[in-house]
Assembly symmetry: C2
Homo-oligomer: 391 residues x 2
């Protein structure tokens, strides 16, 4: 049994942020009904690289869900959504502001039918404000939210973090919103509307950088792999051309100097002094590290209990002994593809079954089953809906 087994989430979202949120809830036990456009479905099914009729992208954030095809532009399709919303605990959607209101599927309409419904709208910039109707994607939020300005080589241009950080963190924020509003509903019996904006989500993550700015008025610069207030905290190139990241507080510094045979010139400096003499400390460490392979360096610093880690590429991450020991990698079988690997959720439970990797649904795989079991539709009615392309 899983902790969210009692929940049903009606998922009208597409692409990455919200589908990632609902996948998390699905693998924690919730029944997630993914609503897709008949014929095409979630546009990520068509992204490269393709796998049978679907894609790696689609697989990455739609596991363990059910799929129903519903044409939201048809009256009968909208009626299906209203009927499903009457039975759902939560609805999540990421249409442009106003889209679902025009289709009679906004919170006002659905909460009148189901006052317990939690309805989470995730948009680029929110339901209000001067940019409410502006278009945006992950990288635009990373840019506008400040993350990109903080990322890059010293003196160089901005760099984009190599993951869709705005999308992924929005997914996490949305999952928290759904669970929080449901927790409140369980006490009061009342649902809620949550207006979440991806730009707001990204800006909220500036919390530390903003506090520093509010305190000092200094705009933080780009620092490569270094840290504004800690030396050393940086990636260093090893003899074999691979990189390792080392970060040391005062209690690690003397063991680090000894492990790397750096002599005693710098060993008595505390962090403030090391920050003041950053160039000198970094140069000494660069010289010490480049004599060692990455494996040698990590072994020496691990033995000295200095925080260190290889800068792993994706293949190295997936082969890492700890990642393997924690059984983060699993797989599912997909029609026409066979076994396909995936990364699971980062939780181990005592008291519940652990999250398990489930198969993503084929487009519309559960349409008939959902219409029959949840809404009591007959085969004839379903055939007629299919005839008119409502499903």
């Amino acid at each position: 049994m899983k902790p969210l087994q009692h929940l049903t989430i009606l998922d009208l979202s597409r692409v990455l942020a919200c589908p990632f949120a609902s996948m998390i809830l699905a693998e924690l036990g919730a029944t997630v009904i993914k609503v897709e456009q008949p014929g095409t479905g979630d546009e990520t099914r068509g992204f490269e690289p393709q796998l049978a009729q679907d894609s790696a992208y689609y697989f990455a954030c739609n596991r363990s869900k059910a799929s129903i095809t519903v044409n939201l532009r048809s009256d009968e399709g909208r009626r299906i959504i209203r009927e499903l919303a009457q039975q759902a605990d939560a609805l999540v959607e990421n249409f442009p502001v106003g889209t679902l209101a025009r289709q009679g599927l906004d919170y006002a309409t659905l909460s009148a039918l189901n006052p317990k419904l939690v309805y989470v709208s995730c948009t680029g910039f929110g339901q209000t404000g001067p940019y409410a109707h502006k278009k945006g994607y992950d990288t635009v939020f990373q840019a506008m939210g400040g993350l990109m300005s903080l990322t890059g080589e010293k003196g160089g241009g901005p760099v984009k973090p190599g993951l869709p950080v705005a999308d992924l963190t929005s997914g996490l924020w949305v999952a928290i919103a759904i669970l929080s509003a449901l927790a409140g509903r369980d006490r009061t019996g009342r649902g809620a509307l949550v207006d979440f904006s991806m730009l707001d989500g990204q800006v909220s993550l500036l919390t530390l950088a903003a506090a520093r700015y509010f305190a000092l008025g200094e705009v933080p610069p780009r620092l490569g792999t270094e840290h504004p207030g800690r030396v050393p905290s940086a990636s260093f190139r090893c003899k074999d051309g691979k990189y390792a990241h080392i970060t040391a507080s005062d209690q690690h510094w003397a063991p680090l100097c000894e492990a790397l045979q750096m002599g005693t010139d710098l060993i008595f400096l505390n962090n403030s002094a090391r920050v003041a003499r950053r160039d000198e400390v970094m140069a000494a460490m660069t010289r010490a590290v480049e004599k060692l392979t990455r494996a040698e360096l990590v072994a020496k610093l691990d033995a000295a209990e200095v925080p260190v880690g290889p800068v792993n590429d994706v293949a190295e991450v997936l082969a890492d002994p700890q990642v393997r020991a924690r059984k983060l990698i699993g797989s599912f079988d997909y029609p026409g593809v066979g076994e396909f690997k995936a990364l699971g959720l980062p939780y181990k439970f005592l008291g519940w079954d652990d999250p398990a990797i489930g198969r993503p649904p084929l487009l519309g795989e559960h349409t008939d089953a959902i219409l029959k079991a949840r809404l009591g539709y007959s085969d004839e009615r379903i055939a007629a809906l299919r005839q008119t392309k409502a499903i």
Copy 2:
């Protein structure tokens, strides 16, 4: 009223990831009791830059909590924790593996006293596996989890994303864990233990990159601000030296070419063709963009409905009209500091009060009140505990 107003979280965590998680829950309404070491408290209170007796760092992730000082090395202190845990909905901790077990404050002990307790342990590498006792910090997880290998200039070394992404996303994952386990508890009356690892959390975020690797076997390289499968999606330098990020799907491409007066040589290329002729497209765009200031560029592309955003530095983010309109910036009054600004949570509710920015607690500010009101301790008993440095 706020959605989590019925919850009490006993927070034995320090520094960033878990304090960020509990701050989110606190501003959604939960009562968070932050347990701190008498005398010093959370070590981040001592970080630079200092503000009165505390720090900007501490302010950034401890708002809206209560603080109690308890010496976990004293029998009486541990007794206080056990008594508070009997009344708490959830406990969150980020001590090294085994620390709380040695102090009789592990899940086995506390769940025997309170079977409904949700207990979330957040460690660097998890409770199990070969690295269970290895030290780590945010940047080590960013390195080992693959994010840093994906971030940087083409052909250059790895770059660290400019926010503590591993810490912040761990905070979001931990908040989801707490809320999920509590949702399950509300159905069954049984608590749970959650073993969350920051490395696992970081690795889980590779979901898309890993799916691509599992599909193709290719290790993704660093791409600066570019995107592996979309052209253009990149930051460009404008006439005034500022950068803007532009990302265009096929429907945006012709409007973009027209808005930037790029001529018709490239206007008929679809995304696949643009990816194939990446250098040529990027060069044409670079030439077009460098004729315009950032403000001119953004205005033109906004008018053409092409996704674009300035690469804002922290000061620009905080002055942005949308950030202002969404009222993300608020403030609190802190003794000895006065008004201090902060970024709130990215949610607007209908049905609940919005999250509001609260003041972080002074060290031990609520010790007496909590011991009296929750545990019924007398003034004499509290004085004696203070005498023996148990609190």
